[in-house]
């Protein structure tokens, strides 16, 4: 855990291996594999976040600006306001499910490979790696590698 503080002690005696870790991050950030992971994350998370925030704000603003519309009866005791409120609940559950599915199918395998690769590179100077290193990160990360799920810690099963 102490490695976390290395940035603030940039030029110290132990500094010989420190810059390497930072270089690795910059290098990975420029690489195609990472940019693909980031693109996939953002292409889902940003539009979805914008969409539900707009939908929520629309609901709130309608509630105060057009109470007449909200009070209009739909069926029995149900009015537009009740239906809209329950629709908010429903879309929240739906988006949660969609996000989880997207992350599991399109992001997790690639991110796990990158994590593996970065951890190996940042640690190679500090300590010998006990496990035989897997093949280097492929340029196209979506290929799911057979060995990857072995890294899952407790509680990761589904």
């Amino acid at each position: 855990m102490e490695k976390h503080d290395r940035r603030s002690s940039g030029g110290s005696a132990a500094g010989t291996i420190q810059p390497t870790a930072l270089d690795i991050y910059s290098e990975v950030q420029r690489g195609a594999a990472f940019r693909e992971v980031r693109r996939r994350y953002r292409r889902f998370a940003f539009p979805a976040a914008a969409a539900f925030l707009l939908w929520y704000l629309a609901y709130v603003v309608t509630a105060i600006a057009a109470p007449g519309l909200m009070a209009r009866q739909v069926a029995g005791a149900l009015n537009v306001a009740m239906v809209a409120g329950f629709a908010q609940f429903a879309t929240t559950f739906l988006l949660t499910w969609a996000y989880a599915r997207h992350a599991r199918l399109h992001r997790d395998p690639a991110a796990l490979e990158l994590r593996w690769a970065v951890s190996l590179e940042t640690r190679q100077d500090a300590a010998p790696v006990p496990v035989p290193a897997p093949a280097p990160v492929p340029g196209v990360p979506q290929a799911r590698r057979a060995g990857a799920p072995a890294l899952r810690p407790r509680g990761e099963h589904r």
């Binding site: 855990m1 976390h4 940035r7 603030s8 930072l22 270089d23 991050y25 910059s26 990975v28 950030q29 990472f34 992971v37 980031r38 994350y41 998370a45 979805a48 976040a49 539900f52 925030l53 929520y56 704000l57 609901y59 709130v60 603003v61 509630a63 105060i64 600006a65 109470p67 909200m70 009070a71 029995g76 005791a77 149900l78 009015n79 306001a81 009740m82 409120g85 908010q88 609940f89 929240t92 559950f93 988006l95 949660t96 996000y99 989880a100 992350a103 997790d108 991110a111 796990l112 990158l114 994590r115 970065v118 951890s119 940042t122 899952r152 810690p153 407790r154 509680g155 990761e156 589904r158």
Partner: protein, 530 residues
Amino acid sequence: MTGAHHVLALALFSGFVLVTLAITTLVGRGRRGSPEEFYAGGRLFSPMENGFAIAGDYMSAASFLGVTGLIALYGYDGILYTVGFLVAWLVVLFLVAELVRNCGRFTLADVLVTRLRERPVRIATGVSSVTVSVVYLVAQMVGAGSLMTLLLGGTGAWARAWTVVGVGVLMVVYITLGGMRAATWIQIVKAVLLLGGTTALTVLVLLRFHGDLSALLTTAADRSGHGRAFLAPGLKYGGDWTSRLDFVSLGLALVLGTAGLPHILSRFYTVPTARAARRSVIWSIGLIGTFYLMTVVLGFGAAAVLGSGAVRAAGAGGNNAVPLLALDLGGGPGSTGGTVLFSVVAAVAFATILAVVAGVTLASSASVAHDLYRTLGRRARTPRSEVAVARAAAAGTGAVAIGLGLLAQDLNVASLVGLAFAVAASANLPVLLYSLFWRRFTTRGAVWSVYGGLVPAVALVVLSPIVSGAPGAVFPGLDFAYFPLENPGLVSVPLGFLAGWLGTVTSPEPADAAGHAETEVRSLTGAGAA
């Protein structure tokens, strides 16, 4: 009010206190000392455990007592709270949970210092996190006091004051003894109790109306004294445009505030990976969503069974709607069923308050020790001395919250919590999002963003009708309410984002490109995660 249910409720509640104390000492034994253990509980909870704990942390007295009370008094306008409380979790799930788990260690500042200068950023976020926590704690204390008044009948101010003090002392004991591991188990126990109690009451309400939701709504509307208007927005926030804007302000604070609450952020560090953090949030969204759907039934149920007038008469702000509903559903005052149900509900509500208070106190003590003490303290710091400071900070936070809780006794718990959300949304969320997603973000931007959200938020609350100039205010005799809205979010949240942007573009130093690379790669891949 007879004496029987006081005794039974106190016995049940004492049972909860004993069980949680036992948990605290059991799980805390032989594990004390390291910050990893104290702040993050060893990081090995499963997603389901953490999901229940998050739900336990989030379903506070504000929801159980405050929101149901608001629904019982104002009908649909209370539902608007539940929607905001739930939708907010999408912000957490999409933009915050996984990335924070990957980048951070214990507090919000840990995420930021990867790419920003440590000292100013730790001080700023430390101050804002403690502020949020204290406001949140005050709300819980008011809930505890209000419940105690109901329980002990008219014995009044002293009982109330002693409850607030007692809750404060207990929570300090929990935290200093058990740290995050104990806090997590207390949340889990409490979440199960609360969901169980809520489900039971919901079933009883539905049975009373033979499963006919339409009949429930119609009866609630009839007995509220407002007719059909009770089922549409407008009773609380539909008057002049000030109160309508107040509602937008609250809505904004609720939906953006959750992702900035320190005690919620710190929960993601108790699981091993980002994937586990994501799955804990999914669990908690399921649990929290179900819970809020049931509070809607309970709120309308209270209006339908008791009538809004009776709810209002039982305590300012409507905080006692649910316990009274339980009394009636069990068979009415004097009956055995009523006594038992009332006692159970009161004990569950107490457990809720106690657990939330413990969680929030732990988060704020982490901010004090890990952020403020580490940067401001002069002596050499070891991890052990930091944990000792965290324990002392828990006591200090408790004392402040007790003091303020004694002052603010007649406010609705839900509106008070709305303030904590507003401060979190203004001071903590902008800096977090900028830091995770904006390449050019600088240290000056971060500091400006925190203070630029925090100072207006707090100042506007002080100048609001909550503090002075209104009948239910903290200082009803004085009038310095120059800001008309009760919730500052509408003004202070944009200010926080604006200040962060302004600080960044006027910054003399360029952004730390390597630090940004590290933040981005770590946040999305989990490399180098604690």
